[in-house]
């Protein structure tokens, strides 16, 4: 697997009144070619600062990085030829039409005129901007403007595209559309590095993620692996109808169920709590049918079943002691 981006000990400190603020404290990252890499963390975690360093906009104070095959510190000019960058505010000019802005962008990358024209048409089509291509982008909706901003970042076919909070401020429909577009870009060979404070964006859209908090990476892996590491899936089994068994009977049924299930290799923890069997299992969706069959075989009646999977918030909580939702201002 090709590594398209690797950083070691990347750091950035900002001077502030009296003392300095360490925004990024020694970040080690690795992004493979062809993946969507999500950088999740609350606002102020240092994600945008890290992104700006990788996009050659800010000089790191320490550490090193190789981006798209070039040394970030020694050859920033070459890095710029291989990356695209879409900031949080976008970068499109509200007084220019999409076509004009894309044309300018292509020419800035040294693309010949005919290539620029062709690529502009290609992008306008791919990102659904054809019908408004000749209106000033100031008249576009939020979603349309965001698509134009991405088109601008993609004009020169970069190997690596940086997206800073790409769906912030978008309505759910535009968000879903943008996700599809990002997936399509990935499928066509572009590696995507995005920052987000949305859990679902890290979880569902990203192939691998890193979680950042207060300038440090606290976790890095696929969303699935991270969640599994934390607790496993939680299965709740409601045993009986209320009042149909005496307390002692209920107790003994529960004990029996626990004994059966705890023998299974995929069960990590099990307890009987508030009328329900609470089990933490490995890969809940796969093992649940088997569990139900076992209990059925032992003639243990169930009145309810629920399966919940840990969220990235659980991961964040485990690693930092705080909830991601609390940390979001």
């Amino acid at each position: 697997m090709d590594t398209l981006l690797v950083t070691k000990g990347l750091s950035k400190t900002f001077p502030a009144k009296g003392e300095s603020i360490q925004a990024v404290k020694g970040v080690d990252l690795q992004v493979s070619k062809g993946e969507i890499f999500g950088f999740l963390g609350p606002n102020g975690a240092g994600k945008t600062t890290t992104l700006r360093m990788l996009a050659t906009l800010l000089g790191p104070d320490a550490g090193e990085a190789y981006v798209a095959g070039y040394d970030l510190l020694r050859e920033p000019g070459k890095v710029r030829t291989k990356i695209g960058y879409v900031s949080q505010v976008g970068g499109s000019d509200r007084d220019m039409t999409a076509r004009e802005d894309l044309t300018l962008q292509g020419r800035l990358y040294g693309m010949p005129v005919s290539a620029v024209r062709h690529r502009t048409m290609e992008l306008l089509k791919a990102l659904n901007l054809e019908s408004m291509a000749d209106r000033k982008s100031g008249t576009y909706s939020g979603g349309q403007k965001r698509r134009l901003d991405i088109a601008l970042g993609m004009m020169h076919r970069p190997a690596l595209l940086f997206l800073d909070e790409p769906t912030t401020g978008l309505d759910p429909q535009s968000r879903a559309q943008l996700w599809d577009e990002v997936r399509l870009l990935r499928d066509q060979g572009t590696t995507i590095f995005l920052t987000t404070h949305y859990m679902d964006e890290a979880d569902e859209l990203s192939d691998r993620i890193a979680i950042m908090d207060e300038g440090r990476i606290v976790a890095e892996d696929t969303p699935k692996a991270l969640k599994q590491q934390v607790a496993g899936d939680m299965v709740l089994l409601g045993l009986t109808e209320d009042g149909s068994l005496t307390l002692t009977e209920e107790d003994s049924v529960a004990r029996q169920a626990l004994e059966i299930l705890q023998a299974e290799p995929y069960v990590r923890e099990a307890a009987y709590v508030q009328g329900k069997l609470r089990l933490y299992v490995h890969q809940g969706e796969m093992v649940l049918p088997g569990m139900l069959r076992l209990l059925d075989h032992a003639r243990i009646g169930l009145k309810s079943v629920s399966l919940s999977q840990p969220t990235l918030d659980d991961v964040f909580l485990r690693k930092t002691g705080r909830s991601l939702q609390e940390a979001v201002q």
Partner: protein, 253 residues
Amino acid sequence: MSFITTLKLYYIRKIKESLRNPAMLSISVFIPLMYLFLFEPLLKHFTGMPGFESGNILNTFLPGILVSLSVFGGAFAGFRLIDEIRQGIIERFRVTPTSRQALLLGAVLKDVTSVLLQALIFTGAAIPFGLHVSLAGFALLLVILALNTALFASFSYAIALRFQNEDTLVPIAQVVTLPGLLLAGFLLPINLAPGWLKVASHFDPIYYSVEASRALMNGRFGQDAVWEVFLVTVPLTALVMGWAGTLFNKVVR
């Protein structure tokens, strides 16, 4: 990609931006014409004053007003830059493999173009009113106007980049422009001033532009101000442009 090609791209972008704004275009023609129609008629009785040029009164007044066009044309250029920074446009350009100097120079050249056009229109319109133009002098005058515009535009861009805030740019631009022009004697020659004021004016770079412009418009190539203006303005412009160029390297939004 060569510096010249990049410069052309940024310059043309700025020119197109001006052309899209017909209000701004008409104002730049409007102001000179207002001077000619509303101010010039009041000057009929001013001929023969000490320190004034011989001949038509416009030969005394017009050069200073041309310099004021370059000062105002440059000093307020930073506002659009602040807007561009806010939109993330500057950050976007910085990620492309293009030169930051080309970005700055493209904007400055557009400001120069704008001022030179205004100067041409104004001077042309003043000739029927009696202005007497030394052609060779006028050509050199245009060079001085270009330099002056570059100086004030770069300064405005530097302030815009440093503070990224209109509330800071406005007072700075105002302090630098009108007091600077008055001290330079742009309307009435500073020769008429008392001693202390005359001395103070020598510390104002605009003074040299105004004196040189008046000399050149009237064909007096021998006057000291004509070479002094380059001695003062060229290094100052280079310094301020260098400063603005460095600040461009740090813009994040």
